[in-house]
């Protein structure tokens, strides 16, 4: 029988962890829904707050772990160096908020709920913070698997969903070609335009005393 590869060992680890990952995702989503309920009740017409959870898929987790090193190759002589528990986002929740001025309110409510979680905001290539993001443990369901939550302006979040699969996880035939300086510039333009749209909408609401 041939030796098991590091990938096989990590797949076994994934399915061993999967019940915990699911529990963290459910717990985190439920706690976030509960913590944002008072805000949800006060949303005005056209304002939105959507909470979504996701469990990272097995192959995606392996790919993320291998992506740490150039050549995307695990060192077969150092199997102990690799564990999926080093990934902070096996269970994740995304809170989409519109308009953006609701974001601070949601962020504060969640920070109060998860005061010990580590902040690692999502930034663009220039280091500008686009959305708050935190990692930590849901101690009610264990301290093996970490969870992640992020509070994202809705327009940006929906754009990223499309952009992520087109550019970050592209069709293999586009791999290495999609993530170019020109595409990065275009993405930055879209992000700036979406921010301006939110500024404009917020200004109309403010001026109308709604």
């Amino acid at each position: 029988m041939s030796d098991r590869t590091i990938e096989d060992r990590l797949r076994e680890e994934y399915f061993d962890l999967l019940p915990d990952i699911r529990r963290v995702a459910w717990q985190l989503e439920t706690e976030i829904r509960y913590a944002t309920l008072p805000i949800q009740r006060t949303l005005a017409h056209a304002e939105q707050l959507i909470v979504k959870s996701r469990v990272k898929e097995c192959e995606s987790a392996l790919k993320t772990l291998s992506r740490v090193s150039e050549g995307r190759t695990f060192d077969p002589e150092r199997p102990g160096d690799y564990s999926l528990l080093s990934l902070p986002d096996l269970a994740g929740v995304q809170v989409l908020v519109f308009p953006r001025n609701r974001l601070t309110e949601v962020d504060s409510a969640l920070h109060e709920r998860f005061p010990s979680w580590t902040a690692k905001p999502l930034k663009n290539n220039e280091g500008v913070v686009l959305a708050p993001r935190y990692f930590g443990y849901c101690e009610a369901v264990g301290t093996r698997v970490r969870g992640e939550y992020q509070v994202v302006p809705m327009l940006l979040g929906l754009f990223w969903e499309v952009e992520h699969s087109a550019i970050y996880k592209p069709d293999p035939r586009l791999s290495g070609r999609a993530n170019t300086r020109e595409m990065n510039r275009l993405r930055k333009d879209v992000e700036a335009a979406l921010s301006r749209f939110e500024d404009g909408f917020e200004s109309i609401v403010r001026d109308s005393n709604l």
Binding site: E70, G71, R72, P76, G176
Partner: protein, 76 residues
Amino acid sequence: MKPDILSQADFRYNFDRDLYVNRTMKKAFSLEFVDDHPEDELRKLIQESTDENGWRFYFNHPPSDGVRRELERVLG
């Protein structure tokens, strides 16, 4: 564009490893290396002769012996 320079020199993109590979030359460029180095330097490195019998890996951080052996096994 850098991918075109590599493609014209018969480098093929390996989707699993994010490497540009030329099996005849036995050279492989990592995606990170290609991103971080100018076109002129890539052209020079594509042309440079290698005395070694084995593979030449152009990485920002040289691969460990274990990774090198694994890549050589996978790339053939």
